[in-house]
Every structure is written in structure tokens, then in C-alpha cells.
């Protein structure tokens, strides 16, 4: 499954990472090499194998549906690049 430059641009868009035009071709080459190496997995017979979703089985813990923390607005906003009136502030979303 070869990754072309169109795919690199699409994936970068999905990942919300801006790429300079000059970065696209080298990334396509790099990703192709890595994905080509990964492709050896297709040869493994996984017929009837259930995908692993938990390495060490744990009993799901239940707790009372009670509020156990909160009232930490100052803490939550402490690292915000911009905050105003108790909210995170961002550039305008709609023209």
C-alpha cells in the first residue's frame, strides 16, 4: 500500500500538522519505507484470532457515581496560552 504525496497531504491534514511543500516528498519516501517494512505483517495468518484489547485482564472497578473533585478552575486555566473571563481564549472560529 504505497503512500503518495496526495496521501501525505491528506494525513497531515487529518493530523492537523502543517507541512511546507518541500517536506511532502521526503515524508512520502520515509513513510513508504516504514510502512513497507510493516507490511510483512500481512503474511501472518490471523484467521479466527480475536484482536487483543487488554494485555493484563483487570476486573473493571465500579465506584459510586459521586462528584469527587472539581472547583479547580484556576488550576485548569493556569497553563492556558490565553484565558479570559474564566474561559480558554482562542482565535476567531467564524468569520
Amino acid at each position: 500500500m504505497a503512500v503518495d504525496e496526495t496521501m501525505v497531504v491528506r494525513v497531515a491534514k487529518l493530523a492537523r500538522i502543517r507541512l511546507a511543500d518541500a517536506e511532502v516528498a521526503p515524508l512520502a519516501h520515509e513513510l513508504n519505507r516504514i510502512l513497507g517494512w510493516i507490511d510483512q505483517l500481512q503474511a501472518v495468518d490471523t484467521e479466527g484470532v480475536a484482536p487483543l484489547d487488554m494485555v493484563i485482564p483487570v476486573r473493571r472497578a465500579w465506584r459510586d457515581d459521586a462528584v469527587t473533585d472539581g472547583n479547580i478552575q484556576t488550576d485548569i486555566l493556569a497553563n492556558a496560552p490565553a484565558a479570559a473571563h474564566g474561559f480558554f481564549a482562542v482565535p476567531k472560529v467564524i468569520e
Binding site: 505483517l41 484470532v49 496560552p81
Partner: protein, 493 residues
């Protein structure tokens, strides 16, 4: 007075208990060693002043009889653990200016036990790397050098600041995290011990996430006993981590024996790979002989899907990373870059382009690709199925043995810059450590010998889930029989 930085953690505890030296003297000696070791670039954020203050408090607690088990012990923290009021970076520009308002569970447990942190240690950016060269704060230089050479070597990674600081006698022990080998491989490269416990033993709460189904905290120290003393404080159930194991934590240090009578040790034949250091095969055999000498029976076992572990890992880990790292968008914390006149989406893209280094970007891209519509089944689902086969291989092997013995890494440490051009060559460092990570098993690297250039080599012990005790016992049996690796000459002073 004796050189306090030469003591093991256990010896420090004993000395503090009988007041042979004070915590202030002990921490002071390590702060001096840390200041002298600045050329190694170990710390991203130094906390030497706070450490000296804490040492005086530890002396008071020791005098009052209220001291915790690690009171006065100088340690350092991989900068992937959130620490309240202390800048936390994950060695990334994207967390620029981030100072947590909370403390990770593991570091809180260490602090409550009295351990004193000298600061936050360098690592690969977001723990993605095997040489500590992807850090936005520059690489760590290993204190270890080849015989007769002054060429700088990598300390391994991603816990490279941790392994180098422990090997350079700057701290008695350091926290690490291990996603595919990030504790064990750097421990091997620097000639120290390091354990990744069973997935879920240590709470992940407050550890900056890389790949959540693999990430596990652990410890690097200069002896097996010292690792046990640290881990028994760090481990334990935490309701704040939904994958935390609600299982009792044994007092591993108290039960350590090194007696392996009645134990069977498996040698997985698939771990004999091309490109392995020629001396390593002999060392592996020697390790098996040492375990036999300690009373164990050696059996050959098979882990048929070993070769598929790395490609599986390089689907699962980037996929989880692409999801975990989606939170770095310039809104709530860290770096924000807004292009002139840019709107919200422009801010996201510009912030992430400026904040992530090349290896992190590469992995986010791979992860995004393998999770994207049309590719999910072929890559991610396939990898999770192969992962099930890898876990089953281990379960099958443990039907005929109690532990596995393997090398930790295919070679000793390599020169700075030697492998940065080829990601796959770098990924191959983790060929022996990734399979047990995928299966969530406890695994430990113990120094066992040196290569032809005098560089440390490690052997790895892999145990059944929750059986860290056996891992420690076998590692101790090797430690007692292996020739002591001399501490690095302090060429940086």
C-alpha cells in the same frame, strides 16, 4: 569520609539509619556530582536547591523517627512525569511553559516515602526514541565510553537521562518509563539495572501518555536490590488509572534470594538474530550457565511470532500516540503559534508543526494513517490480532518454564549520530524488548558483561504477569555471578 555517591541505595539507607552521614551530606554530595556532570546534559530542569532543602527536612524526620523508607535518598525523575509546580516538558517544545498543577501518582508515592528528587531528567521527545537524540533539549551524552576512545556515545533511550544519571553516580536511582524497551535498553547501554514491571503495576496517572496500552513506569538503579527498593514504593493500585492492577505489592526487596532451585528458565530460540554482537551470544550462554549454577533448569522454548513484534509495535504505538497527542493543539497548555491573521484551524496546524520534532511527527503521521478510514482493518486491527498471537506465544512458553532469559539489546551503545538517518535501524534496537511490552509482562535488564570495546551489555529476564519476584531473583543470581562492570571514569569533571 567515603565517597557518598559510590554507595548503593541500600547502603545509603543503612548509613542514614545509623547516622553515619546526614541526608544533607548525602544529597549535597549528589548535587555536587550533578553540577559537575552538566556536560552530559542529564537534566532538563534542575531542582538542586529544593533537594537540599528537602534533605534538611529528611534529617529532621530521621531524627524524629518519622522517616519514610526512602528518606533522604537522592533520585531524579524522567521528565515525562507531571510534577506539581515544576516545569514538565516531555522533552518537547510543544509543552513550552507547562507547569503542572498536580503530581503524578508514582512521583507522589516516592515523595511520600521520603525520596528526594534532584530534578527532571532528559529523554527522547515524548519517549519516542532509542538513543535520547530526539529530545528538543539536545541529546544526553553517555558517561560510558569505549576503551581508549573519547567519542561520545548515546545512553540509550528513551530513558537516557535516567540511565546516564544513575551510571554517572549523580543519583542513586531514577524513574523511567518503558513503552517498547525505554527502561531496559538504556539500562543495558549504561551498565545499570532497570525493570519494567507488569503493565498496570504502576499507575499511569500523571505520566504524559505515549501509547497507553504499552506505557509502564519503572526504575533504573545500580543494583537489583536497589530496583526492588524503589519499585515496591512506586507500585500499587490507583483508582485514578482504570488499567491499574488491584493486586497486593510484595516487599520484593525483603524476599530477594537469588536461589533458583526448582525454577525453569526458557531460552527462546527465535531471539538469535542477525546483526547481534558476536560476544553477545556467548554472554547469553554464560548467563544461562550462571542461572543453572543458581539452581535453575535451562530449557529451550519457542516464541514463533518474535519477528512480527516490531512491525506490530510500529502500528499499535504510533496509532495510540496519534490519538494521545491530539490534545496538543495550543488551546489549553503549552505552545501556541497563531499565523498572522490565522483562525482556529490555522492555529492548530501551525502550533503542531512548530511544536513536534521530526520523529514525533513521523509517528503521528503513521498512526493517523493506520487509523484512517479504509486502512484501519488492514493495519491496526491486523496488528492487534498479531499482538494476540505474540501474547499467546508467551503464555505457551510459560507452560514449560517460569522465566525467559534473552539479551536486552542486539549491541552495546553506539556513537551519537550513528543511527539518526535511518528510523528502521533505530527501531531495531528494541527487537528483544518490544515483544514482552506487547504482552504486558514484567521484564528486567541486568548488567552481565561487556563487548569487545568494553561497552556494557545487558541480559533480560521476562516473567509471568505479576511475577516480578522471580524476575528479581534471577536478575540477582546473574548480578552475583557476573563480573562487576567498573563505574565510568568521570571524564566530564
Amino acid at each position: 569520609m567515603t565517597d557518598l555517591t559510590a554507595l548503593s541505595l541500600a547502603e545509603m539507607q543503612a548509613g542514614l539509619r545509623v547516622r553515619a552521614f546526614s541526608a544533607a551530606e548525602l544529597v549535597g554530595a549528589h548535587v555536587a556530582a550533578a553540577e559537575a556532570a552538566r556536560p552530559l546534559n542529564l537534566f532538563i530542569t534542575e531542582g538542586f536547591g529544593a533537594a537540599l532543602d528537602a534533605a534538611h527536612a529528611a534529617d529532621a524526620a530521621l531524627a524524629a523517627g518519622s522517616a519514610g523508607p526512602l528518606a533522604g535518598i537522592p533520585i531524579a525523575i524522567k521528565d515525562l512525569f507531571a510534577t506539581r509546580g515544576v516545569r514538565t516538558t516531555a522533552a518537547s517544545r510543544i509543552l513550552d511553559g507547562f507547569t503542572p498543577t498536580y503530581e503524578s501518582t508514582v512521583t507522589a508515592r516516592l515523595r511520600d516515602a521520603g525520596a528526594i528528587s534532584l530534578g527532571k531528567l532528559n529523554l527522547d521527545e515524548f519517549a519516542m526514541g532509542s538513543s535520547n537524540e530526539t529530545s528538543a533539549f539536545g541529546p544526553v551524552v553517555s558517561p560510558v565510553r569505549a576503551a581508549g576512545s573519547a567519542d561520545p556515545l548515546v545512553p540509550g533511550g528513551s530513558s537516557g537521562g535516567s540511565s546516564a544519571a544513575v551510571a554517572a553516580r549523580v543519583v542513586a536511582a531514577a524513574t523511567g518509563t518503558d513503552t517498547g524497551g525505554s527502561i531496559r535498553q538504556p539500562a543495558a547501554f549504561c551498565g545499570v539495572a532497570g525493570i519494567k514491571p507488569t503493565y498496570g503495576r504502576c499507575s499511569r496517572w500523571g505520566i504524559i501518555a505515549f501509547a497507553s496500552s504499552l506505557d509502564q513506569a519503572g526504575v533504573l538503579a545500580r543494583s537489583v536490590t536497589d530496583c526492588a527498593l524503589m519499585l515496591e514504593v512506586m507500585a500499587g493500585f490507583d483508582p485514578k488509572d482504570s488499567t491499574s492492577l488491584d493486586a497486593p505489592v510484595p516487599a520484593w526487596s525483603a524476599s530477594l534470594s537469588g536461589d533458583l532451585r526448582g525454577r525453569r528458565i526458557g531460552i527462546p530460540r527465535e531471539y538469535r538474530v542477525e546483526g547481534m554482537d558476536p560476544g553477545l551470544d556467548a554472554l547469553w550462554q554464560q548467563g544461562a550457565d550462571w542461572l543453572r549454577d543458581a539452581g535453575a533448569e535451562i530449557v529451550e522454548v519457542s516464541l514463533p511470532h518474535t519477528a512480527q513484534a516490531l512491525p506490530t509495535y510500529y502500528i499499535v504505538a504510533p496509532a495510540e500516540a496519534s490519538s494521545n497527542l491530539a490534545r496538543y493543539d495550543g488551546v489549553r497548555f503549552g505552545l501556541r503559534v497563531v499565523p498572522e491573521g490565522g483562525a482556529l484551524a490555522d492555529m492548530y496546524e501551525a502550533t503542531r508543526a512548530a511544536g513536534f520534532g521530526p520523529e514525533v511527527r513521523r509517528r503521528i503521521m503513521i498512526g493517523t494513517y493506520v487509523l484512517s478510514a479504509g486502512y484501519y482493518d488492514a493495519y491496526y486491527l491486523k496488528a492487534q490480532k498479531v499482538r494476540a498471537l505474540i501474547a499467546r506465544d508467551f503464555a505457551d512458553a510459560f507452560a514449560s518454564c517460569d522465566l525467559l532469559l534473552t539479551p536486552t539489546a542486539p549491541t552495546g551503545a553506539f556513537p551519537l549520530g550513528a543511527r539518526t538517518a535511518d528510523p528502521i535501524a533505530m527501531y531495531l534496537n528494541d527487537i528483544f524488548t518490544v515483544p514482552s511490552s506487547l504482552a504486558g509482562l514484567p521484564a528486567m535488564s541486568v548488567p552481565a558483561g561487556t563487548d569487545s570495546a568494553g561497552l556494557p551489555l545487558g541480559l533480560q529476564l521476562i516473567g509471568r504477569p505479576l511475577d516480578e519476584a522471580s524476575v528479581f531473583d534471577a536478575a540477582l543470581a546473574i548480578e552475583r555471578r557476573a563480573p562487576a562492570i567498573p563505574p565510568p571514569q568521570p571524564w566530564w569533571r
